[in-house]
C-alpha cells in the first residue's frame, strides 16, 4: 500500500497520516534488513490494536510479525533487531525492569561487547477518556536513564524518519507515539517519501521562526504551540516553535540558539510537571551560556499534577490547552 501511494504521487508533496507513516517506516525497514522483526500484542493477525501494523503480517508472515501473549515484550534476540510494540506505554511498566536493566545498561556493563539494537514503540501519554491507568506520559521516566535513546515524533515526517533511524540504531530506543495523532494527516515532502529518508536522532527542528519567545515542545503539543503562535501573531507576538523530536539525547543547543535570539522560553508538554521534560530544560538552560540571555524565568506548561480523571470536563482541564499556552506566553513576556 505504501509503495503504491508513492508511485501514484511521484511529484511534490503528499498527505500521509502518522499511522501510515509509521507503517511505511516499518515496511521499508523490514524489507531492507531481514534481521528486523515486529512483535507485540495483536500486531499480526489483528493488524495492530491501533492498526499501525496493518498489512505487515500479510506481507511478511509469521516469522517476521509475531503476535505475543499478554506477557509484556521483553526479550533479547542475539543478532536480531526487534521492534517491540507496547499496546500503550502504560503496559511497559510491567516490563520496565528489562527495558532499563537489560536493554539500557547491557552495552555499558559488557564494555561494548553486547549491543541491544531494539526499538520499543507504542502510544504514550493521554488519549481521550481512557482514565488514570491508560493516560500517563513516560517521556521523563525513560529519558532519565543513560543507555536509552528516547524519541517523541510529532508529524508524519517525524514519525517515518525517526522510526527508520530508531530501527537502524544499534542501541535501545524508546519510541513514544501518540494515539490521537495516528489518524492526523500531514504533508510529507518528496524527500520524506524516499526509502532512504531518515531523521537523525538527537536533533530538534524549528517548526516556526519567531523573535519574541521560544516555545519548546514534543509530540502532540507541538501542534498546540503552532496553534497558539497563530493566535499570538495577530497580537504582534512572534513565537519561535521548536519541535524537540528527541527527548534523550536532548538538543539543548537548538534551544539555546533560539533563546539567545528571543530571550524568553516557554516549555510545553503533556506530562506531569515534577521531574519532567520542562524541568530538565530549565536546568540545562541554567547550566549553559543561554542563561544570561533570559529576560524572565523559564515558564513550564505541563499537565496538571494529578492522576488523569475520566469525566470529560475534568480531563480537558488536566492537560494544557491552547489558551494555557497563550496565557503563559503573555505572562512570560509580561504583556
Amino acid at each position: 500500500m505504501a509503495a503504491s501511494l508513492r508511485c501514484f504521487l511521484r511529484s511534490g508533496k503528499v498527505t500521509v497520516t502518522v499511522r501510515d507513516a509509521l507503517n511505511q517506516a516499518m515496511d521499508e525497514e523490514l524489507e531492507r534488513d531481514e534481521r528486523v522483526f515486529l512483535m507485540g500484542e495483536e500486531v499480526a493477525q489483528y493488524d495492530g490494536a491501533y492498526k499501525v501494523s496493518r498489512g505487515l503480517w500479510k506481507k511478511y508472515g509469521d516469522k517476521r510479525i509475531i503476535d505475543t501473549p499478554i506477557s509484556e515484550v521483553r526479550r533479547r534476540h542475539a543478532g536480531l533487531r526487534p521492534i517491540c510494540e507496547f499496546m500503550t506505554f502504560n503496559f511497559s511498566m510491567q516490563a520496565i525492569d528489562q527495558v532499563i536493566n537489560s536493554a539500557a545498561k547491557t552495552c555499558y556493563m559488557s564494555a561494548g561487547l553486547q549491543a541491544v539494537p531494539i526499538v520499543f514503540r507504542g502510544p504514550n501519554g493521554a488519549s481521550a477518556g481512557v482514565a488514570a491507568q491508560h493516560s500517563q506520559c513516560f517521556a521523563a521516566w525513560y529519558a532519565h536513564c543513560p543507555g536509552l535513546k528516547v524519541v517523541s515524533p510529532w508529524n508524519s515526517e517525524d514519525a517515518k524518519g525517526l522510526l527508520k533511524s530508531a530501527i537502524r540504531d544499534d542501541n535501545p530506543v524508546v519510541f513514544l507515539e501518540n494515539e490521537l495523532l495516528y489518524g492526523v494527516p500531514f504533508e510529507m515532502s518528496e524527500e520524506a517519501q524516499s526509502k532512504d529518508f531518515t531523521i537523525p536522532i538527537g536533533k530538534a527542528k524549528v517548526e516556526r521562526a519567531g523573535t519574541h519567545v521560544t516555545l519548546v515542545s514534543h509530540s502532540r503539543y507541538v501542534g498546540y504551540c503552532l496553534d497558539a503562535a497563530a493566535v499570538l501573531t495577530k497580537e504582534g507576538i512572534e513565537c519561535e516553535v521548536i519541535n524537540l523530536r528527541t527527548i534523550r539525547p536532548m538538543d539543548v543547543e537548538s534551544i539555546e540558539a533560539s533563546l539567545m535570539k528571543t530571550n524568553h522560553l516557554v516549555t510545553v508538554e503533556g506530562g506531569w510537571p515534577q521531574f519532567g521534560v520542562g524541568a530538565e530544560i530549565c536546568a540545562r538552560i541554567m547550566e549553559g551560556p543561554a542563561f544570561n540571555y533570559l529576560d524572565s524565568p523559564v515558564t513550564r506548561v505541563t499537565g496538571v499534577d494529578i492522576p488523569m480523571p475520566y469525566a470529560k470536563i475534568l480531563e480537558d482541564h488536566s492537560l494544557p490547552q491552547i489558551k494555557d499556552i497563550i496565557f503563559s506566553v503573555k505572562k512570560t513576556l509580561n504583556v
Binding site: 499478554i70 503496559f91 510491567q94 477518556g129 494529578i306 480523571p309 469525566a311 482541564h317 494555557d324
Partner: protein
C-alpha cells in the same frame, strides 16, 4: 393439572440433558423448588468436586433471573450510549458472561471481597453498586460511583476493588486482600478474577506461589471467554487447561454459562478456603457476545456463526428461564413482568446518566491522598495553583 406437570417433566427431560426431579409440590401456583442435574466439573488435585445435583428455589431463580437480565440490559444500554458518544474512552462489555458474576455472588457474602479486571460493570452491580451509579460513572457525571473520575474500568464499592485497567495487575492485589483476611482472622475470603489473556502473565504465577505457600483464602477465577482481545486461547497459551495452571493449587473447570454450575463450584471453593486449606483455582468457561471493547467489532477473529451458536444454545439467561418455566417455577408473564421492570430501571438510570451534571471543577484535584491535610497542586502553568483535599 397432573397431565400438565407430566408433560412439563417429559419436555424438561429432553432439554440439554438436565433431568428435573420434582422434590416438592405445594398447593400454590408454582413449584417452590426443584433439583437439577448440572454438568460435572473437571477437577485437578481434588478428590471430589462440587455437587452435580443442586436445588434451586423459586425465589433464588427469580433473583438470579432479575440480576442477570439487569446486567444484560445495562450492558446493551451502555453499547447504545457509547455509539452515541455519550460514553467515551474504553468500554468492555460483559453480556454473555452474566452467569459468572451472579453465580459467584450467590455463593459468597457481601462481607467477602472481590477484585477483577476491566470487564467489571457486572461485578460492580453484584457487589452492591446501583445501575444508576454505574451508568452515571460511564457517562462521567458527578452521580457516578466514582464521582465521574474513574470511568468504565475504575469502579469501586465496599469490598469490591475494581475495575483494574492493566491486564493481570489485579491478581497480586487479590492475594493481598486475602492476606489481610487471614491476618485479621475474620473468616472472609477474596475472589480474584482474571481472563484467559491475563493467565499467561508472570505475576499470576508469582501470586499462585505466595497464596499456596501462605495458605491464603483466595479463590482465583479465570474467566475464559476464549479470546484475549483478538487472540484465541490456542494462539496465546502453551496450555489452555487454565484450571491446572496453578500446578500445586487444586483446580476446577466449570461451565460458566450455567449459573447453577458457577454457584455450586463457587460454594465448593469458598468452603475449601474457609476451612483453611488455602487457595483454589476455578476456570469458568464462558463467552462474550461483544468484541473485546467497543472499538473491536469482534468478528475479525471469530465468526458470526460462532457467536450466534453460543447465543442460541448456551445463553445463561435463556438457560435459567427454560429451567424455571419447564419446572413450573415461574410463568412466562411473571418473567415478562421482570423484563419490563428491568427495562424501566435501565431507562431511568440512562436518563439520570445523561442528565446529571459533570463533576465540578473544584473536584479536579481532590482525592489524591487519603486522610491528608489539604495541599496545593500545580495546574498547567506556574500561576495556576489548585487545591486538593482528601
Amino acid at each position: 393439572m397432573l397431565t400438565n406437570i407430566s408433560n412439563v417433566l417429559r419436555a424438561c427431560a429432553q432439554r440439554n440433558g438436565a433431568a428435573a426431579v420434582v422434590s416438592a409440590r405445594t398447593y400454590a401456583d408454582f413449584t417452590n423448588e426443584a433439583t437439577f442435574e448440572i454438568k460435572k466439573c473437571d477437577t485437578f488435585k481434588l478428590d471430589e468436586g462440587p455437587a452435580t445435583q443442586v436445588v434451586l428455589t423459586r425465589d433464588e431463580g427469580l433473583q438470579y433471573y432479575r440480576t442477570m437480565q439487569t446486567m444484560r440490559r445495562m450492558e446493551l444500554k451502555a453499547d447504545q450510549l457509547y455509539k452515541q458518544k455519550i460514553i467515551r474512552g474504553f468500554c468492555h462489555l460483559y453480556d454473555g458472561q452474566e452467569a459468572c458474576a451472579v453465580g459467584i455472588e450467590a455463593a459468597i457474602n457481601l462481607s467477602d471481597h472481590l477484585i477483577t479486571a476491566y470487564r467489571a460493570h457486572g461485578y460492580t452491580y453484584t457487589r452492591g453498586g446501583t445501575v444508576k451509579e454505574i451508568m452515571a460513572e460511564l457517562t462521567g457525571r458527578r452521580g457516578g460511583i466514582a464521582k465521574g473520575k474513574g470511568g468504565s474500568m475504575h469502579m469501586y464499592c465496599k469490598h469490591f476493588y475494581g475495575g483494574n485497567g492493566i491486564v493481570g495487575a489485579q491478581v497480586p492485589l487479590g492475594a493481598g486482600v486475602a492476606l489481610a483476611c487471614k491476618y485479621q482472622g475474620n473468616n472472609e475470603l477474596c475472589v480474584c478474577l482474571y481472563g484467559d489473556g491475563a493467565a499467561n502473565q508472570g505475576q499470576i504465577f508469582e501470586t499462585y506461589n505466595m497464596a499456596a505457600l501462605w495458605k491464603l483464602p483466595v479463590i482465583f477465577i479465570c474467566e475464559n471467554n476464549r479470546y484475549g482481545m483478538g487472540t484465541s486461547v490456542e494462539r496465546a497459551a502453551a496450555s489452555t487447561d487454565y484450571f491446572k495452571r496453578g500446578e500445586f493449587i487444586p483446580g476446577l473447570r466449570v461451565d460458566g454459562m450455567d449459573v447453577l454450575c458457577v454457584r455450586e463450584a463457587s460454594k465448593f471453593a469458598a468452603d475449601h478456603c474457609r476451612s483453611g486449606k488455602g487457595p483454589i483455582l476455578m476456570e469458568l468457561q464462558t463467552y462474550r457476545y461483544h468484541g473485546h471493547s467497543m472499538s473491536d467489532p469482534g468478528v475479525s477473529y471469530r465468526t458470526r456463526e460462532e457467536i450466534q451458536e453460543v447465543r442460541s444454545k448456551s445463553d445463561p439467561i435463556s438457560m435459567l428461564k427454560d429451567r424455571m418455566l419447564s419446572n413450573n417455577m415461574a410463568s412466562v408473564e411473571e418473567l415478562k413482568e421482570i423484563d419490563v421492570e428491568v427495562r424501566k430501571e435501565i431507562e431511568d438510570a440512562a436518563q439520570f446518566a445523561t442528565t446529571d451534571p459533570e463533576p465540578p471543577l473544584e473536584d479536579l484535584c481532590n482525592h489524591i491522598f487519603h486522610n491528608n491535610p489539604p495541599l496545593e497542586v500545580r495546574g498547567t502553568n506556574p500561576w495556576s495553583k489548585l487545591k486538593s483535599v482528601s
